[in-house]
Amino acid sequence: MTGRRVNNRLTYLTLTAVAFFFTIPLYYSIVVASRDNASLASVPPPLFPGGNFFENVSRVFDTVPFGLAMVNSVLVAGSISISVMFFSTLAGFAFAKLRFRGRNILLLMTVGTMMVPTLAGIIPLYILMVKLEWVGSLYAVVVPALVNAFGVFFMTQFLSRALPTELLEAGRVDGCTTWGLVWHVVFPAARPAAAVLGMLTFMTAWNDYMWPLMVLTPENPTVQVALSTLAAGYVNDYVMGLAGTALGTLPLVIVFALLGKHIIGGIMQGAVKG
């Protein structure tokens, strides 16, 4: 019995140490973001936040169009997640509960596409955007991401478990069209998983970097593109770089800390099947 208690204590100790190492870089970024560049050179380096945060933030806004970047990122991530939730629920419902010719092969293709790296098609995608005259516009970032294989697979998994077939049959007997079923039965049942999917998609879209960097301009950036402009052009201005980073990251981290339980549940549910 005592052996088990010692063992448990060791577990807590280890996990706390790991939690410490997982959070310390975030904490330290706030420390640096709230100091001035001169104080970073002192020995020992500053370990607690200072009072320069707002001054550094205002310098961020003077250097890059950070306000516009925030608005852009909210627009991009918001519209992508709404669209992914909607189309993934539709396709997931069809794959999970409707019978049609070619269903299995189409589902297999969907899963297969998850393995394809984005990089493999990125040049033609860029050429396509040049042809559509979307380079520099948010369309170039939003439209290719409107629905994705992960979302479809995720909703298929969820709906095949969570949506009772009897409920659909009852709806049919009452004379519902398929769209009627979607509206009255599927959407309400899909809500919890769709919410998780929406949050995951929002985070991914918010953090996406390579494609926005290629197709957007520094004048009309997303948050990540603006941050990389800061990091590139002002290498030695650590405090400004990290003030921008904190500003672009903290909203998401706070939302996640509050809703994290549900998001983690979603990730783990999706994972078992993989």
């Binding site: 063992n7 577990t11 807590y12 280890t14 996990l15 790991v18 939690a19 997982f22 870089p25 975030l26 330290y28 970024s29 970073l40 050179a41 020995v43 020992p44 380096p45 993934s88 396709a91 419902f93 069809a94 794959f95 409707l98 049609f100 189409l106 596409t113 394809v116 790296p117 984005t118 990089l119 493999a120 098609g121 040049i123 033609p124 050429i127 396509l128 040049v130 439209v143 409107l146 398929t178 979607v182 953090n207 970097y209 390579m210 990389s228 990091a231 650590y238 770089g241 990290l242 980073t245 672009g248 996640f256 800390a257 339980k261 998001i263 983690i264 990730i267 994972a271 078992v272 993989g274």
Partner: protein
């Protein structure tokens, strides 16, 4: 219900009734047959336009001398690939990608397994630990690199402060091949270990409890249980984690780009230029034919590694049985 029944019985007496009924049947049949396709269509249309077509087209572009500024695209056959395979920068980037990939993946996988094992028991504050595990993954890659560039700084970095306070010399992390690879791998590990631990934990929770009870009765220690019960039971998930992290590590891009303060070469001697960064360097020269060849080679590497993974896991399965 009772009030509706007479209505349904009524139509046959009217002359047009039968046809209207078939029309309704027909509509119903169309609805049942066609609507599934309508629901999966948005995904497949979008995938064909922005996924499948670009991949095929990449191959087409890679067979040409193709720049964005020129409207003429001369067909050159496999010339781009020939030049690429003879390019020492390409093999340098391949080496760096594999080195960073291995340095980050092996410790990451072991650590993730161990963390998942620790969390796979009744603990207080279970949610707190899970959330802190995933916090790095919520942080964007750009933010991670900016933060760690400061931590790995030569003069004012946190790590060098710790090293020098123990009396050793500080390390110029960016300058060496190994040291820069270690720094970049640390960033990747920090961002992904917790995520992978949660996926492994999810699989572990599906392992039947009785197996552990039996193992405990047989006197197996916690570590033995991890090795002999857990790992064999969750092998498919381990394979999944390995394959997804491999695909990810073949595309490491933001870390070397921003660690080198936005230099496309990945350090003065290209000591940490990855394949994706090598691709991006040539893309920025608007040499689309050559960079398409690079992205196809990356795709081929991924297929090869995924194939090897598949064979290995299959063989392991065979030997256990």
């Amino acid at each position: 219900m009772a009030t509706r029944a007479p209505e349904r019985a009524a139509p046959p007496r009217r002359p047009g009734g039968k046809r209207r009924l078939t029309a309704r049947h027909w509509r119903h049949a169309v609805d049942v047959k066609a609507s599934p396709y309508a629901y999966v269509a948005p995904f497949f249309l979008l995938f064909c336009a922005f996924g499948l077509f670009p991949i095929g087209y990449t191959l087409w572009v890679s067979l040409h001398e193709w720049t964005l500024l020129d409207d003429e695209h001369t067909f050159v056959g496999l010339e781009n690939f020939r030049v690429l395979l003879a390019d020492s920068y390409f093999w340098n980037a391949t080496f760096n990608t594999l080195s960073i990939g291995l340095l980050s993946m092996l410790p990451q996988l072991l650590l993730a397994l161990w963390l998942a094992h620790l969390l796979n028991r009744p603990l207080r504050a279970q949610n707190f630990f899970r959330i802190t595990l995933l916090l790095p993954n919520v942080t964007s890659v750009v933010a991670v690199v900016v933060i760690f560039s400061q931590i790995f700084g030569r003069d004012f970095g946190l790590i060098n402060w710790v090293i020098t306070s123990f009396g050793f010399d500080g390390i110029a992390w960016r300058d060496g091949t190994l040291s820069s690879h270690v720094a970049i791998s640390t960033m990747i590990m920090w961002r992904w270990t917790g995520y992978n631990a949660l996926i492994l934990l999810a699989a572990m929770q599906a392992v039947p409890r009785e197996l552990y009870e039996a193992a405990t009765i047989d006197g197996a220690s916690s570590f033995t249980q991890l090795r002999k019960v857990t790992v064999p039971m969750i092998r498919p998930t381990i394979a999944f984690v390995v394959i997804t992290s491999t695909i990810g590590s073949m595309q490491i891009f933001a870390e070397p780009l921003l660690f080198g303060a936005y230099t496309l070469t990945g350090g003065q001697d290209r000591q940490y230029q990855t394949l994706s960064l090598f691709f991006y360097e040539n893309y920025m020269r608007l040499d689309f034919g050559f960079s398409s060849a690079i992205s196809w080679m990356i795709f081929v590497f991924i297929l090869i590694i995924a194939g090897i993974n598949y064979l290995l896991t299959n063989r392991m399965k065979g030997s256990i049985r």
